[in-house]
Symmetry: C2
Subunit: 139 residues, 2 copies
DNA sequence: GCGACATTTGAGACTGAGTATCAGGAAGGG
DNA sequence: CCCTTCCTGATACTCAGTCTCAAATGTCGC
């Protein structure tokens, strides 16, 4: 299923279906939690897939709206995290201690964020909101 | 005034009042808008202040709660921004096009963010929220 | 199937932010 | 003025992400 969906993604985006790309897409999409670029690079390197290809493919997917790219924990890891989700309406809770990232569904926040941003003349095209704190396990 | 306040800051934090530190603090505090680490390094290098000292001093100030460290614009610059503000209760609007950063005062957001985070078992120790969008000038 | 051709790949060099180290230098208490 | 302690800048380093380019691979017309 995951491989078929990787092909489907590539097909939809009018990109050549190469084994490297399928591997990258499968690796990201098979995770429900966000993955770091670092981890993907390391994991895929074992299969002979180069660093450049991983970043290139991730970039394509982000631009195509398949993945969303979020920041890591402040002060700790500085590499990006990638996760499957529409880039427009998600928010993340990042644990500062263990780095765990949880998605939250906060429709009601959206309206408020929108109104705040508009009040400042901003169009909040993307609600890439990250709340940082300590998760249950870490305090 | 700014120099006096730099000394005051150092005094309050029980740090030696050196010319390098005063220069770094003055440079950051004299700006109302957030400054990038890059810009500070470049500006202070002209006065013979080394990169390491700038980062060290900024770090001290962030840890002491004098400055707040926020992310730059997504996709473009990736270096940190520093700004004078209490780290606990501020939110930022970041323009994706020009990189402008505005502070917003959103007390009402706080309560909602808190409740959302707590609902997920998080203690939202720091509301480092960044809303990304396009500012008035850029759309 | 096959071959031409454009796209993609991976190796490796490069960039630039931030960090670590360390000998020399300054602050400041006595 | 001296001595200890802390601070500084030069420099080398790390590491994420980008760039480059020759070689490999997918695609499509035949």
């Amino acid at each position: 299923m995951s491989l078929r969906s990787a092909s489907a993604v590539l097909d939809r985006l009018d990109l050549r279906s190469t084994s490297a790309r399928r591997a990258v897409i499968t690796a990201v999409l098979s995770r429900s939690q966000p993955v770091t670029a670092r981890e993907l690079v390391a994991r895929l390197a074992r299969r002979g897939i180069g660093r450049a290809t991983v970043f290139r493919t991730l970039d394509l997917l982000v631009r195509a709206g398949v993945l969303s790219r979020i920041h890591g924990i402040e002060g700790g890891e500085r590499c990006f995290h990638y996760t499957r989700c529409a880039p427009e309406h998600h928010h993340h809770l990042v644990c500062r201690a263990c780095g765990k990232v949880e998605e939250i569904d906060a429709r009601r926040l959206d309206a408020r964020l929108d109104s705040v941003a508009r009040g400042h003349g901003f169009r909040a095209l993307s609600h890439a909101v990250e709340i940082q704190g300590l998760c249950q396990d870490c305090h």
